[in-house]
């Protein structure tokens, strides 16, 4: 009977490794507890952001170090924490377990599973707060991150390592853009992290289900701190998501992190700061509210080749009230990020979806990373659209328009139509190039505005069925050379004949 004996040996070895040493602890006593904040005496050698554990098993983070007490933010419920309870320092700065196995999981900001599957057993832990990569380790943004949304990829291109803000009122499709972008990263070798901060649990569940159905969960991690979680968890969520992203970035991978949304994050931090009795400033936010977001978004980076060449792209979301982008938090985050995608409810209700305001949306660094072919076909689009908007407003007054103006307005209408796109239907870059090519070459000028959508769908179908190799060439070369241009011309002409037939 060899097997059981070896098993006994194994068990014995395992147990012999266990040494029953007395433990030396550093403790304090709870003085007061309430609203998720505990004040404790003792703990004289504790560090800022150090984890502590309470006698009842709850854990907390030390945020305030005062003369004779410390302020502790409780991670979880503070209901059972009573005065006089012992609190023990752990000597560990707040961190999160990181591992490849965390892909496809739904976790809370402490890395504990929320999807009912096994715990994440990883020896590697990343600190939640970390200094952003230094200047010397970075390089400028040079690779595109395709969102699969025509209006964004053509007009406001995003590069890997960029920070692009998605801003707009409630119900304007901010999360929809973020989700479409994640769905579009399938087969792109980009790891996506969706951080839900103060969202409804039902919304998070819906998003996870959608990711699962579309096979997007394989390359996605969801970090969730819902509206029902304690505000300390909401405050930590984006940093935890970022730490997970940094783990993959350090391995040379491309990572996309979505913070949905930072307005609620600012609220959560305001609550914690006020309860810790930190002095309030404008709109009752604490004085370091700018640093709160700048230190988070600075961690987005494109690392140089010598440093692994990984990247972390950040898409923070900000919800505005009645379109007021000049409020405190929106202006802060606008100034931190490398551009913003501005969504308007007026456009949304006019049926222009995504409800992108082309005039106010910008991408400060992404155009350097835009694929050449896209740059070629979309180069003039932005200017044309702006001119169209101006002319359209003007044309409302008079009906007598010269031919050139009328043409420009007609082209503008079709451009607007082409840039409309349904939810959860991200489009490959070669398809985007094809339809924008058709638009700029005037193929759509004879198509009625209401028919543009149908025409486009048929064109994609035709190209996918009959001209697959042309699409493959565009994708491979990611450029529209004269040769490819003439081939596209021919293909579209051929399609027009079948369309009219």
């Amino acid at each position: 009977m060899n097997a059981p004996q070896s098993l006994t040996e194994q068990l014995r070895r395992d147990l012999e490794q266990f040494s029953a040493q007395p433990t030396k602890k550093h403790v304090g006593t709870v003085l007061e507890s309430g609203d998720g904040i505990v004040r404790a005496s003792g703990l004289s050698q504790v560090k800022s952001y150090e984890m502590v554990t309470f006698q009842n098993g709850e854990s907390g983070v030390v945020l305030n170090l005062e003369e004779d007490t410390v302020g502790i933010m409780v991670l979880g419920s503070s209901d059972a924490i009573t005065e006089g309870m012992q609190v023990e320092s752990t000597g560990r700065i707040l961190d999160i377990p990181v591992d490849e196995a965390i892909l496809g999981r739904v976790v809370n900001p402490l890395g504990e599973p929320l999807d009912g599957k096994e715990a994440i057993a990883s020896k590697t832990r990343y600190p939640i707060e970390k200094i952003a990569p230094r200047v010397i380790t970075r390089e400028s943004v040079n690779t595109p991150l395709q969102t699969g949304i025509k209006a964004i990829d053509a007009l406001i291109p995003i590069g890997r390592g960029q920070r692009e803000l998605i801003i707009g009122d409630r119900q304007t499709g901010k999360t929809a853009i973020a989700i479409d972008t994640i769905l579009n990263q399938k087969n792109e070798d980009v790891i996506c992290i969706y951080v839900a901060i103060g969202q409804k649990a039902s919304k998070v569940a819906r998003i996870v289900k959608l990711f699962e159905e579309r096979g997007a969960m394989e390359y996605t991690i969801v970090v969730s701190a819902t509206a029902s979680d304690a505000s300390p968890l909401l405050y930590l969520a984006p940093y935890a998501g970022c730490a997970l992203g940094e783990y993959f970035m350090d391995k040379g991978k491309d990572v996309l992190v979505i913070y949905d949304d930072l307005s609620k994050h600012a609220w959560a931090y305001r609550q914690v700061a006020l309860l810790l009795r930190r002095p309030p400033s404008r709109e009752a936010y604490p004085g370091d509210i700018f640093y709160l977001h700048s230190r988070l978004l600075e961690r987005a980076a494109k690392l140089s080749k010598e440093n692994g060449g990984g990247s972390l792209t950040a898409l923070p979301i900000i919800e505005t009230q009645q379109g007021d982008v000049s409020a405190y938090i929106p202006t802060n985050v606008i100034s931190i990020t490398d551009g913003q995608i501005y969504l308007e409810s007026d456009l949304f209700y006019q049926g222009i979806r995504p409800a992108l305001n082309v005039g106010l949306s910008v991408s400060r660094v992404g155009s350097a990373a835009q694929v050449k072919g896209m740059k070629k076909v979309a180069g003039k689009l932005r200017l044309d659209l702006a001119q169209y908007r101006e002319l359209a407003a003007f044309a409302q007054f008079g009906s007598d328009l010269d031919e050139a103006t009328r043409k420009q307005i007609e082209r503008g209408k079709r451009t607007e139509e082409v840039l409309k796109q349904g939810q959860y239907v991200p489009m490959a870059v070669e398809q985007q190039i094809a339809i924008l090519f058709a638009l700029t070459q005037g193929y759509l000028d004879d198509v009625a505005v209401e028919e543009v959508g149908a025409w486009e769908a048929k064109l994609h179908e035709f190209l996918a069925n009959q001209k697959a190799e042309l699409l493959a060439t565009i994708k491979e070369k990611s450029e529209v050379t004269d040769e490819i241009g003439s081939q596209l011309d021919l293909a579209i002409k051929e399609f027009e004949q079948t369309y009219h037939a």
Partner: protein
Amino acid sequence: MAHYRTQAYVEAAYALIQEGKKASDVSQALLRRLSKSKQLSLLPAIIDAMQIRESLGTKIPVAITIGRDFSKAGAARVEATVAQAIGRETSIETTTDSSLLGGIIIQQGDDVIDASVKALAASLKNYLAHM
């Protein structure tokens, strides 16, 4: 006006009395200070703590919790060892807590040495769970 906890007031007042300040002057100053910081409700606690502090003198308070009562000789040995380790005169208060299942916990200030059977069992459980 900064708020301090009871022990801080006691230590400060005790230090002043040790310096040779008159007890009545110190208590007046303390009362004024408490009234300014609206902490007069702490007074009973401060008086109690002051009495304990006086009885301690320069001794270092050490709390010992044991799982099972031990013999007088055993207690003396523990006291001697603790006093030797700290290097100063100690005032030891010993309590018995049967939930420890055995062993000893020694606390001096913020530092705790936990050699109870309960803690050892917990660390064994943790070890087995993460083996």
